[in-house]
Amino acid sequence: MSHETRRDGETGTTDEDRPGTFGRYGGQYVPEALMPAVQELEDAYERYVLEKEDGFVDEFRRRLRDFGGRPTPLQRADRLSDRLDREVYLKREDLLHGGAHKLNNALGQVLLAKYMGKERIVAETGAGQHGTATAMAAAHLDMPCEVYMGTRDIQRQRPNVFRMRLNGSEVNPVSAGRGTLKEAINETMRDWATNVQDTHYVIGSVVGPHPFPEMVRTFQSVISEEARGQIREQAGRLPDSVVACAGGGSNTMGTFHEFVGDEAVDLFAVEAGGSSLAVDEETGVAPNSASLSTGTEGVLHGARTKLLQDSDGNVVESHSVSSGLDYAGVGPELAHLVDTERVTPVNVDDDEALEAFHLLSQEEGIIPALESAHAIAFARANPEQLGELTVINVSGRGDKDLESVIEETEQRELENAPSMDIFERAAGDTEGGI
């Protein structure tokens, strides 16, 4: 049997001008079964979000305000400003409904799915913040929702599992690998490939195939849109620097986006340094999640980006005390902004993040998410890099992290942790009283 090979010379190139690419990064590396869905989403994103057809953008803004509680405040952190001897402002995304920035994106995508006529939502979640935000948005907009979550994360984030169930979502445990975000994404992609005709996959970060990185960034950009206006109003000028933590990069891109064109504003993406920056080739584990600082170029979850991998190209397991940062890849646009030196990647280790968690709790009365504590920790350790006026994004609140913070604090020598022996003392008194 013979076959003639006809080849269209214009197809199949990854050139830097193609939509959906950021320099050398981005693209659409997904199974063929998903390509029509990805393209359908691309069309819907252009029509409803970019061209503002059918009132989508107005409805999205209205729901963010009435249901989500936007705008969130920009607050001067008085004691942190004194301590660091400069003006420190906190963008309070922890005050958004659900307790994290994640709702900006989840609400946008679930609403978009409705406009597209989809009947079912699936999502992955790591820390559980994206899962809970999606579950809330799905309940709010009356869409059935299933969330995939690694078994290890389910153990680490029990309160969020309860919240998703309370909002009526199914939670599907994923036990492959180390049972964290990476495996949950794989499993959600498989669900999507099976049910692609009526299902929308609400991806939780600026990762995945085009149009997800750009679309999620667009939904999250409300953070920097507000913050940029607020700082000019409150401080009378643009900041010298903006600081955000970076895992997949959704709060990072949301916090940076409107400042990217302000060349005098330094942008710091704070990654999880974990316990060490080295990759253990033998065990295939990187005890960190610092893909911007230490990763190499490759293809993961639909995009070309920087990722933690071994020399063969197998993706290694990442680590962070903060499960929301615990991911081996990072959004392609953020990787590009690092390559072009617009964004400076930095990192802090688990201990520094935990100390910053206690610091903000004690001195500002804000219990931050462990993710956000990384941004605070960088500012605390490197005030001279911040300039005179800085904005730090508090991406979420720390209620979800209490159990792991108490457990981790007990195992470490932290300079500023409160004693938790109250339970032992109370237990002792109770026993004594019997």
Binding site: M1, S2, H3, E4, T5, R6, R7, D8, T11, G12, T13, T14, G27, Q28, Y29, V30, P31, E32, A33, M35, P36, A37, A176, G177, K182, N186, M189, R190, A193, T194, N195, V196, Q197, G298, V299, L300, H301, G302, Q309, S311, D312, G313, N314, V315, V316
Partner: protein, 273 residues
């Protein structure tokens, strides 16, 4: 033998992941499949994020990675394989991208050509991203097989049929790989959709019995691809000295290849048309 020649008669195309549970046992298994009538071998190179695979093949990939299987071991294995059927390498794009010093898939393809691999199936590489690999395959005379999904239509189908060489992998149902008892209703529609293209069409995803294989060939397929039903047998492996995995693989392969042959025979009869 070239891939095109292997499809002169309807072909049975089994899949196994190399290195599950060890490279040496894969050698026994592959020989058993060839004895059972394999016409083409799809040999998986394990990657840590197999997003197109169902639980059966995921399990196989995990076992192969735990056994330490690397791309270089895979190439050495194929190089030393003494079988007279073409080998197609099935893996994910990042492994091609990372191999060697070059930027892109060139070094991987060069090494594959050196060890006698005939072509590639890369499930996470749609036509839109395939330019560099297509060029590298052309440079080294290798085939690049694209997967046509139930959702592939219109202009994209046209483009993929044009880019694909060796054969078209026709995905019989939506979802991930995995053995199913029935023949998907989608199969005939999918084959009709690609019938106009002058390239062999092999159907995969969910095929597990000789009967299904016969039906698929009767529906007009030039080949039948079977993975999970074989990997299920491999997953049962025990003591290398004592288990009967090679015998069971050979007998399953025979059932499937006989199903393909029976389908071909029925197609050849006038009333079978």
């Amino acid at each position: 033998m070239s891939l095109a020649e292997a499809f002169d008669e309807p072909a049975f195309v089994p899949y196994l992941c190399v290195g599950d549970p060890s490279v040496e046992r894969t050698r026994e298994y592959v020989q058993a499949l060839v004895r059972g009538g394999a016409d083409v071998l799809e040999l998986g190179l394990p990657f840590s994020e197999p997003i197109a695979e169902g639980p059966t093949i995921q399990g196989s990939v995990v076992r192969a990675l735990e056994a330490g299987t690397t791309p270089e071991q895979y190439f050495e294995f194929v190089d030393s394989l003494d079988v007279d059927v073409p080998v197609v390498c099935m893996t994910y794009y990042n492994l091609l991208y990372q191999y060697g010093d070059s930027d892109g898939p060139g070094s991987f393809v060069e090494r594959a050509a050196e060890v006698g691999i005939s072509g590639f199936v890369i499930p996470d590489l749609p036509a839109e991203e395939a330019g560099p690999l297509r060029t590298a395959c052309d440079d080294h005379g290798l085939d690049l097989v694209f997967i046509v999904a139930p959702t592939t239509e219109g202009e994209r189908l046209e483009r993929m049929a044009g880019l694909s060489s060796g054969y078209l992998y026709v995905q019989a149902r939506l979802g991930v790989t995995g053995a199913k008892a029935d023949v998907s209703d989608q199969t005939e529609a999918s084959l009709a959709k690609v019938s106009q293209y002058d390239i062999p069409k092999a159907v995969g995803f969910g095929v597990s019995s000789g009967d299904q294989a016969r039906h698929i060939v009767e529906a007009g397929a030039d080949g039948v691809i079977v993975g999970s039903a074989l990997v299920d047998i491999v997953a049962d492996h025990g003591d290398p000295e004592g288990d009967d995995v090679p015998e069971r693989l050979e007998s399953k392969a025979r059932e499937l290849s006989e199903g393909v042959a029976a389908g071909a025979e029925n197609m050849a009869k006038p009333e079978g048309q």
